[in-house]
Symmetry: C2
Subunit: 168 residues, 2 copies
């Protein structure tokens, strides 16, 4: 099998979408998630969040970034989700084998700066202890002054078994 | 039908995950996305990105936030995606009926500050012109010094028809 050519991804996506349109059933779903749930998860390609949690279209907001971190931007999204669109529960999902576990910020940023010919103040936010990081991110969400007093749980997804484990 | 109780979402998620584990096939997929594709999309509950683009587990990084914006955190995720995990194409997807289209930042933040009893410096980043915003986000990605010279496209997803439209 030949590796896919990334420059062909736009054409492939538009063709795939044409098939999606054929089977699409106009739903009348609104912007407010039906399950009043917001999920924060890693961007990892192996995490199909809707499958892992059995979510249907319209059920939940899904916020994703490198690591599944409660960054300022994830908090911004969560504030919009809660205050404008009515969600009242948060699940945060990080996972085994995460790409954010395997490198150091300083040396990696110096390599990127050298490769790109530009220095940028952009911490990449890697971490070393998965479970401790899940706890820290959940605490950041719970403690944020603009996050409502709603259930916030942190979990680890095992990419080998497909299993979720509750951490906090 | 009774509206789902958000405080029951953890239990529901763990039960749903138990069924996911039963049908899970250990894949041996690695952290590097097979299609070398990264997607930035809105957190909206109606956008099941994998379905819209016919992506399988392991195919693509999926970065999501309120609006589908190229924020610093989305750029951080994209830098990790490209420089550490080998992706070489970007699709940015915003959509019709987005919750970010319907409010003003200042008044909304004042309401939230009053409700929560705390002022926070956290712009919510709403926008008024969907297509112009898609162009601006795509430009921000293309112009960032740490983003590689790879194809970057911006699209609008129509939540009523399921159709993607190429903007840039």
């Amino acid at each position: 099998m030949t590796a896919p050519d990334p420059s062909a991804e736009l054409d492939r996506a538009l063709q795939a979408n044409a098939r999606h349109v054929e089977r699409f059933v106009a739903s009348g779903l609104s912007a407010e998630p039906a399950r009043r749930l917001a999920v924060i998860a890693c961007m990892d390609a192996r995490l199909v969040v809707e499958d892992i949690l059995d979510l249907r279209p319209g059920d939940a907001h899904i916020i994703r970034n490198a690591g599944g971190l409660a960054t300022d931007d994830a908090i911004r999204s969560l504030v919009v989700s809660q205050h404008l669109l009515g969600t009242r529960a948060v699940l945060l999902i990080e996972h085994t084998g995460c790409g954010m576990l395997g490198f150091e910020d300083g040396p990696t940023r110096r390599q990127i700066a050298e490769r790109q010919g530009a220095t940028v103040d952009l911490p990449l936010l890697p971490f070393t202890d998965l479970e401790a990081n899940v706890r820290a991110q959940a605490e950041r969400i719970r403690g944020h002054p603009w996050i409502m007093d709603v259930p916030v749980h942190g979990l680890v997804y095992d990419v080998v078994s497909g299993r979720l484990r509750l951490v906090t």
